[in-house]
């Protein structure tokens, strides 16, 4: 019944779009099969850069996220300066739009003409994504760490574990398990945000499609890119759902 309703709604929407006055022109500029074929090799190559940027950024983001979250959960007075840096970092990079971070890193950093700073905007853009998403992921980890009951730390302390050991062997493993679903969501969002690299002239999929569009007055490659992104994110989204459901079942079973 629900499926039938969905089909009907989608069908009506399709009819509305296809019978709209502008449809023939939209169809020609956005859904032209020959342009799709012609642009595909370049777009596919550009999409490789999106995937590469994502694959490079993801592990670095996880690393920064865990480090910042752990630093923020310390209490010793000696670590106060580090904590302060961690707080400023998360506040700053959660506040500034990712697009701005990409622009500032991609165009601002090379302008400094510093020794050793790469000038390739692919690397600068990926670095910007790491900075921006590191702050989000740090907050996700921090929520996970805060969700672990203090009695777990008390138990570890009573066994003679140091604060660091309690974090490493007791708190973090449990916190990580809890935050896997929200983390995967952030990574789906990161996959899409690699498109922001187009703003600093990286020849990734969106920039390539735009380039093609400007020369050929046809925007079908944008739709091709959209399809590629969907194909990339859907499996991860399904996996996230599945994992979330499985964890919920586990928690319920554990709470007998």
């Amino acid at each position: 019944m629900a499926t039938l309703a969905t089909v009907v709604v989608l069908g009506v929407l399709a009819v509305v779009v296809v019978t709209s006055p502008g449809w023939p022109r939209v169809k020609a500029t956005f859904f032209d099969w020959s342009h799709a074929r012609a642009a595909f090799p370049a777009v596919w190559k550009g999409f490789g850069k999106n995937v590469a940027s994502f694959l490079i950024a993801e592990p670095l983001i996880l690393l920064i996220g865990v480090l910042v979250a752990v630093v923020r959960s310390t209490t010793s007075a000696a670590l106060f300066p580090l904590r302060l840096i961690a707080v400023v970092y998360t506040d700053l990079f959660r506040g500034v739009p990712t697009l701005l971070v990409v622009l500032l890193c991609g165009l601002g950093l090379p302008a400094l003409e510093l020794q050793g700073v790469p000038t390739d905007t692919f690397w600068l853009g990926t670095f910007a994504l790491v900075l921006s998403y590191g702050a989000y992921v740090a907050e996700v980890f921090r929520a996970g760490i805060d969700s672990i009951h203090p009695s777990q730390v008390a138990s570890a302390t009573a066994l003679g574990l140091s604060n660091g050991q309690a974090m490493r062997h007791v708190v973090l493993p449990q916190a990580t398990r809890r935050v896997v679903p929200p983390l995967l969501n952030d990574f789906i969002s990161l996959q899409k945000d690699t498109a922001l690299l187009s703003s600093i002239f990286v020849f990734e999929a969106v920039f390539t499609a735009q380039d093609y569009g400007l020369y050929n007055f046809n925007y079908t490659p944008f739709v091709v890119v959209a399809v590629l992104f969907v194909a990339l994110t859907v499996p991860l989204a399904r996996f996230t759902d599945w994992l979330g459901r499985r964890m919920m079942r586990r928690e319920r079973a554990g709470a007998r």
Binding site: S151, Q152, A154, A158, L159, G160, L161, S162, V170, Q174
Partner: protein
Amino acid sequence: MSDTALLRTENVRKTYGDKVVLRDIDLVVQPHDVVCLIGSSGSGKSTLLRCLDLLEDIDDGSIWFEGQEISDPRVDARAVRRRMGVVFQAYNLFPHLSVLENLTLAPRKVHGVDSTAAEARARELLESFGLADKADEHPDRLSGGQQQRVAMARAIATDPALLLLDEVTAALDPELTGEVLEIMRHLAGEGTTMVLATHEMSFARDVATKVCFLHDGAILEQGTPAEIFESPREERTRQFLRRVLPT
């Protein structure tokens, strides 16, 4: 300290803000003693146990353990905790680790025992606690009584000189308390030195070498089980026993 006491407290005082939770606590624990702390809820039993393990700082007085004043702020609290085992009312097992890993974590990471030796010792303990077949299970697959037995095994896997138990049967269904008390009797029989807060009066009567009645943060009366249960000196003790003992 030149005497043979394993643990001795003198005039221990503990406050939370304005509230005095422990006052004038003088307690002596000799090797192989089983000291039962009894008293109504809120009388300070858990706080006393936490102070002994240095999980809480005391405000005044001193605590001596194995000839060293451990209430001295310069003492390395971790070194002291390495010599004590604690079991909490709510078991507090590590849910992400298997039963075996719960037992081997502290021996490996804190005591530097290699994994093979730690595992062998853990399996031996699980065997003697009737949990041999649970070694590879995760704690949430176990009953409350089994989890509490695992917690006991974990606490003694590091061969502590003193075992602190805080109402370890209080969270269990009545039919499950027996299996945990059985283990405690077994440990007492082996000469394990224990300080425990408990509401199990028959256990205290049978097994304790000393019973302390806490009231409002003070040890109002202490003595052998016979003294406390048969001829209590204090009216408060009599009132408490009338409430908890079936007549």
